[in-house]
């Protein structure tokens, strides 16, 4: 294989169809993609602002990676299932996660961010790499159910070094599971460059397991959509797992606690800003007349409304009842938890009494 990336949309906004990954592109599709990127970006900006004002404990910015994520989200069928990291804000949005639910986790009132059954996305785990195995197990379940579904498993370049991601590829190929691994190589794992994780392109890992892989321009929403859809279809058809490396860049800090100036030359930013996924989509839509003024105004208004709703919901949020922390440790009653809850309840009562 070569390390060339597949690109359907040039930075100048020209559409160049790829023979292997044809895509029907109409104004409606372009508008939906545009809208989802804009709203994802707004969620990102609002969340960072809420963290800065102390309303959230932490936030993981997504700036720069929305194209890869929104494209992949549109490639999934509602019946498909996804596993992600904390950073797939674009995918959360496309799957219908309410940003307010998402922020419960960063507010510190809950470990969970949404109802996995409803949105068809597993709750993300913060332990890097481990969910890749959950993806494969879920896909093995789909196989056993004989269902016409597939799993999209998203992780970062740093995660590829973990033993769990390796074991996930071993199990996926050994059992021919309907799963597509979607790696966003955003060049950094906190302060560690991707060169510390691998000397070869990450896409080359797949061949060692007997699985096809494709390297895409991760700032090209159309390439992400076309390639991910093709490989999910292939997985659903029983042709087994596949691997995608989306080459992109994390333009923000790793999290709101991070200080990228300590480890990277901000001049990298200019290079990647020029490749911004939203700008290139906008250019294409302008060229093709798919971007009328009214639509832009609508989407901006929708984004503003989203921002207001998120701000108000989070700012007003009360701390939970202390005893709530004892709920759901087990599905069936556990005497130790019951006893500890009772003791805490009595202790709190005594405190109020005195």
């Amino acid at each position: 294989m070569t390390d060339d990336v597949i690109q359907l949309l040039t930075p100048d906004g020209d559409l160049v169809q790829h023979p292997d990954y044809p895509l029907d592109v109409d104004a409606d599709l372009l508008r939906r993609l545009y809208r989802d990127i804009v709203l994802t970006r707004r969620t990102d900006i609002e969340s960072t602002a809420l963290q800065r004002t102390g309303e959230l404990g932490l936030w993981c910015p997504v700036l720069g990676q929305e194209g890869a994520q929104v494209g992949a989200g549109h490639a999934m069928r509602p019946s498909d299932y996804g596993f992600t990291t904390y950073r797939e804000v674009g995918l959360f949005h496309v799957r219908g996660v309410d940003p307010v639910d998402l922020l419960h986790l960063y507010r510190g009132v809950s470990h969970a961010s949404w109802d996995p059954q409803r949105v068809g996305l597993g709750l993300f785990t913060i332990v890097i790499g481990s969910h890749a195995l959950h993806s494969v197990g879920y896909a093995m379940g789909i196989q056993r159910d004989g269902a016409d579904e597939a799993v999209l498993s998203c992780f970062g370049d740093g995660a590829t070094s973990t033993g769990d991601v390796h074991e996930a590829m071993v199990f996926a190929t050994a059992f021919h599971a309907p799963v597509v691994f979607f790696v966003q190589n955003n060049q950094w794992a906190i302060s560690v460059p991707v060169a510390r994780q691998t000397r070869a392109s990450l896409a080359r890992r797949a061949a060692g397991y007997g699985m096809p892989s494709v390297r895409i321009d991760g700032n090209d929403v159309l390439a992400s959509l076309a390639v991910t859809r093709a490989l999910l279809d292939r997985a659903r058809d029983g042709s087994g797992p596949a691997f995608i490396e989306a080459v992109t860049y994390r333009r923000g800090p790793h999290t709101t606690s991070d200080d990228p100036t300590r480890y990277r030359d901000e001049s990298e930013l200019q290079h990647w800003e020029a490749l911004d996924p939203l700008d290139r989509l906008r250019r294409h839509m302008v060229k093709t007349g798919a971007l009328d003024e009214a639509f832009v105004v609508d989407v901006d208004a929708e984004a503003d409304a989203l921002g207001v709703r998120v701000r108000e919901a989070i700012r007003g949020m009360e701390d939970p009842d202390p005893l709530g922390m004892f709920d759901h440790v087990y599905a069936e009653p556990h005497p130790q938890v019951t006893a500890d809850r009772a003791a805490m309840s009595a202790y709190l009562a005594a405190g109020e009494a005195s």
């Binding site: 597993g122 785990t125 196989q143 759901h328 069936e332």
Partner: protein, 325 residues
């Protein structure tokens, strides 16, 4: 009633669980055509097929991690870890995912996973094949921990573990795998496995054990009885939850308690038993709760194990100490 070894009882229990629920599947290394290195899954792949009895690649984290995904999809995976010493590569998936996911999901997603682990020493094995890791799991909220003491227990509790909607670490005392017992394999399964069992009552000393040490304590109680010391013997059976009620009740009458296990004494299950029993029987205790268990060393080469492992004589020695005037 059928006479079975513990291996046969586990095999029969797994078979019955798979017959009753098509969502139950087994995964592990060498559990297919080989039937597991201890033959616990003998014949099951032949009868239930490769989709329900899965020979896994050599990767414990992979086995447990994919089971988490299968559970999310509605399956009830029953995993075999080949030996105690090989569970550690899966430790991250067990403590960060299996134990916490139901809590993390706010009760939406259950983790009905059973992780079977042959554990403990006494079979003359090489390194990593004789360890007792139970304290790691019992100290981890979100997990349940069960360990059967005999074949009859194994037959019933493996099915109850599989039926539980919570994850269960199921520790099989490998040195008792070949002990026989009469197993009731016809009656419907009843009762709760999350309680301790009073196997014998005596006025003088309360012996507390679980898994492989239950038989040792019963033998010690017989020997002590010949010397005129009468012991109660209580099998904890469940290490999470720990059901110490029956122990406390018994110690309130005997005033003396000895807890026995193979694992190192330091921070072993015996420490929790001693601390809790002391809290609840403080004014009834005639002597401090005694702990008989492993020294603070790694499991030694097997030519040492007869000295490393608690045996009847070590229990009798402890009985002498707690009953000394």
């Amino acid at each position: 009633m059928t006479s079975m070894t513990m291996v046969q009882a586990l095999n029969a229990g797994l078979r019955r669980a798979m017959d009753n629920d098509p969502k139950v599947l087994l995964m592990g290394e060498d559990i297919g055509p080989l039937g597991g290195v201890f033959r616990v899954t003998d014949g099951l792949q032949k009868d239930f097929g490769e989709d329900r009895v899965i020979d896994a690649p050599l990767a414990e984290s992979g086995i447990v991690g994919t089971a988490v995904g299968l559970a999310m999809r509605g399956y009830r995976p029953v995993l075999e870890i080949q030996f105690d010493g090989f569970v550690y590569p899966a430790f991250d998936q067990i403590v960060t995912m299996v134990a916490k996911h139901h809590y993390r999901s706010g009760g939406i997603t259950t983790m009905p996973i059973v992780i079977r682990i042959p554990y403990g020493g006494g079979i003359g094995a090489v390194e990593h094949h004789s360890e007792s890791p139970e304290a790691y799991f019992a100290h981890t909220p979100g997990l349940r921990v069960l360990t059967p003491a005999d074949a009859a227990e194994a037959y019933v509790t493996i099915q109850q573990a599989i039926a539980s909607d919570d994850p269960v670490i199921y520790l099989e005392p490998k040195r008792r795998y070949w002990d026989r017992a009469e197993v009731d394999d016809v009656s419907p399964i009843s009762g709760s496995p999350w309680t301790s069992r009073v196997l014998r009552t005596g006025a003088d000393v309360t012996l507390v054990a679980y898994g492989p040490m239950v038989r040792t304590c019963l033998e010690a109680a017989d020997a002590a009885s010949e010397d005129g010391v009468e012991c109660s013997v209580i099998d904890l059976r469940s290490l999470s939850p720990l059901d110490l009620g029956p122990v406390v009740d018994d110690v309130r009458s005997t005033g003396r308690c000895i807890v026995v296990h193979e694992a190192p004494v330091v921070l072993g299950v015996g420490a929790e038993v001693a601390a809790t029993v002391t809290e609840q029987c403080f004014f009834r205790l005639e002597a401090p709760v005694a702990r008989v268990g492993g020294a603070y060393i790694p499991y030694p080469p097997n030519r040492y194990e007869q000295h490393y492992l608690p045996d009847v004589d070590r229990v009798l020695d402890a009985i002498d100490q707690v009953t000394a005037p």
